[in-house]
């Protein structure tokens, strides 16, 4: 295993056409990451229809490059405009924006891009080493194991996601119920259609992603008024070089961030807690914790390294198990199915040039990405100077184009609008959106795995605990599900008074 496969991958990724796609993907991705209302997940969703006619390897290279670009773009808005494009860029604004206000925007951006690169590279190296092993193990999995992994996926949203665990649960359930709507392929019966023909096709998660994250996000961002104010970046090769010379000093922060990011990131919903955790650790171990929040460069390095390590790691379960670790990975998984590939462990045996081309493109994509964003930051930042009155209709129209293109159906544009309103309301009420999307994607898979498990055991749920691998995974999942209850109990035991549920509504 290993190096000759990676070499094969590099031969695929380094073809001029694929390199060109990587440059295109990063450019578009960075633009998407900078634009309000568009992020990695819905950017990939909107461009997905354009890849239907490409060969799968080139298509996935375009989409992953787009993803890296969106991650880089998120850092630009966080630092220069104090607008976190994605939840995991929130921690970057703490010190990034103060740095930019003090005229050190160039340093902050250089540090952010470099940390992103280091974090992502760390994850990709670990993926290179561990993905084939994990796929080998996953080949032995049966339906109970797959259902157990699904349980683990969703339990980690509840146990580790932060926020109100019951609202996380509700989001997951809504996603699964929406996934169940339409034709039941096993029995051939129509479910939850109530005699309406349009509902027969069910809900496509790509449309849900575009509506929830695209339209919903636009509505949220106009709340603050119809304009943006930002700081102009002062960035040139000299600033980049000066910053690079200081960065090795913070090697501990880099290593800590990368490990936290990878560890949190291959579980779903991990990027956001990873970035906060990494920030908190950096602050705790710093000799000048009082400087954090006022423009300390370590406060940019820590969350960015962790967020990108997590972003890379979220692709690991997607390619080895067929279970995405983030909404963006979920959209890519949907792409795999549309291109006619069966996601999961068999990919390593049947389509090595696809898998290794993808892995190799993560190296080339990140390298190209960091060079491009460093060179063109002012151009990308200028996008946010496009007046709001032009930007908003452009984004709405692009969202509509993406929704329609998935199935050539007008009803999807209506669903986009509906999901947009739901996204706005849910965001305001602190219902997390990522678990809803993942449940919508995985609904059919999870239901089939559960059905097959129950058929194997003739109706007993205990089968999940009787087989060794699924037993261990299911038990961990149960612990995660119970974690919020346990924490509540411990807190209550420590204090006599029951704390009122905090309402940190945004």
């Amino acid at each position: 295993m290993g190096w000759e496969n990676l070499l094969l991958g590099f031969q695929v990724a380094a073809q001029p056409f694929n390199l060109g796609l990587a440059v295109l993907g990063i450019t578009l991705g960075t633009i998407i990451g900078v634009l309000p209302g568009l992020g990695g997940a819905n950017g990939v969703a909107i461009l997905l229809p354009l890849t239907f006619s490409m060969n799968p390897t080139s298509a996935i290279i375009l989409l992953t490059s787009l993803y890296w670009g969106a991650l880089f773009g998120g850092a630009i808005t966080s630092i220069l405009f104090n607008i976190p494009g994605e939840p995991w860029s929130v921690a970057t604004t703490f010190d990034g924006y103060p740095m930019a206000r003090h005229g050190k925007g160039g340093e902050a951006l250089t540090a952010a891009f470099t940390s992103s690169f280091v974090g992502a590279l760390f994850s990709v190296i670990l993926i290179t080493l561990f993905a084939p092993l994990l796929a080998e193990i996953a080949l032995k999995f049966g339906p109970p194991e797959f259902f157990a992994i699904q349980l683990l996926t969703f339990s980690s949203f509840i146990g580790l996601g932060g926020g109100n665990p019951i609202k996380s649960l509700v989001s997951i359930l809504i996603g699964f119920i929406l996934a169940a709507a339409g034709l039941d392929i096993v029995t051939g019966q129509l479910r939850l259609t109530f005699g309406i023909t349009e509902l027969m096709k069910g809900f496509d998660f790509i449309v849900a992603v575009i509506g929830l994250f695209g339209i919903g996000e636009i509505l949220l961002s106009v709340e603050e008024g119809l304009s943006f104010r930002g700081v102009s970046p002062q960035i040139n090769p000299k600033v980049v070089w000066q910053t690079w010379k200081t960065l090795p000093r913070y090697y501990r922060t880099f290593i800590r961030g990368a490990f936290i990011g990878f560890w949190m990131g291959f579980k779903p919903g991990g990027a956001t807690p990873a970035s906060f955790m990494s920030y908190a650790f950096a602050k705790r171990f710093s000799r000048h914790p009082e400087r954090f929040g006022k423009g300390e460069i370590e406060g940019v390095i820590a969350p960015e390294t962790a967020a990108h390590a997590a972003g890379g790691a979220s692709l690991l379960p997607m390619i080895t198990l067929g279970i995405p670790g983030s909404p963006t990975a979920a959209v890519m998984l949907g792409g795999l199915i549309i291109w006619g590939l069966q996601p999961g462990p068999m990919l390593f045996r049947e389509k090595p040039e696809f898998v290794w081309g993808l892995i190799a493109s993560m190296y080339t994509g990140n390298l190209i990405g960091v060079a491009m964003v460093l060179a063109f930051v002012p151009l990308f930042a200028a996008i946010l100077r496009i007046p709001f009155a032009i930007l908003t209709p452009v984004i709405v129209a692009v969202c509509a184009v993406g929704s329609y293109a998935v199935h050539d159906s007008m009803i999807d544009i209506w669903y986009m609008l509906l999901f947009g309103v739901i996204g706005y309301v849910f965001k305001k009420l602190d219902y997390p959106l990522a678990p809803l999307v993942l449940a919508l994607v995985l609904g059919d898979l999870a239901e089939n795995a559960l059905r097959q498990s129950l058929i194997m055991s003739q109706g007993s749920l205990l089968i999940l605990f009787e087989r060794p691998i699924s037993g261990v995974i299911s038990t961990i999942a149960l612990v995660f599900f119970a974690l919020p209850l346990l924490q509540g109990y411990l807190r209550r035991a420590r204090r006599s008074e029951v704390p009122v549920v905090s309402s940190h509504d945004g």
Binding site: L219, E224, I390, V401, D408
Partner: protein, 153 residues
């Protein structure tokens, strides 16, 4: 905030009840070849109703703190949401390209207060860019209306 939380929970409970009703129709037990169609949605909906009831109780116990949306926030949201909804309606009848032109022109003119020259320029050019990229270049068709039919597409 509290009212919005309660309303959302109640709507979701109603939705859950609907799912339970339909699942019971499909059967939630053991069929000839494994669990029946209603089995999975039934238990999901039961959990949903329970979880929303808990959220409702939590919300009721909480003090009436911040409003869900202030008047200053609601105005820009509505000035974006209503034209967006109008855009979807127009797309249904006139096709995406014409709808985009009208939507952009409206938004730029009334919200951005641009003069007519940039309004017409941008709102005609942008749909053309979409047309060339999607329809011509990547061969992804978009919804079309009477204008495109008249032009022969």
């Amino acid at each position: 905030m509290r009212t919005a939380d309660l309303t959302t929970a109640l709507i979701l409970i109603a939705g859950g009840a609907l799912v339970i009703w339909d699942s019971l129709r499909l059967g939630i037990g053991w069929g000839t070849d494994g669990p029946q169609s209603g089995f999975f949605p039934f238990w999901l909906a039961v959990l949903l109703v329970v979880a929303c009831a808990v959220i409702g109780v939590q919300a009721r116990r909480r003090a009436r703190a911040r409003p869900f949306v202030t008047r200053e926030q609601l105005m820009p949201v509505l000035t974006t949401l209503v034209p967006t909804a109008g855009f979807v309606v127009l797309t249904q009848f006139l096709g995406l390209y014409v709808a985009t032109t009208l939507f952009m022109a409206f938004y730029m003119r009334w919200i951005g207060r641009y003069s007519w020259v940039p309004v017409v320029l941008v709102s005609v050019l942008f749909p053309l860019v979409i047309f060339v990229t999607f329809e011509k270049w990547f061969l992804v068709p978009m919804p079309k209306g009477p204008l495109e039919a008249w032009l022969g597409y």
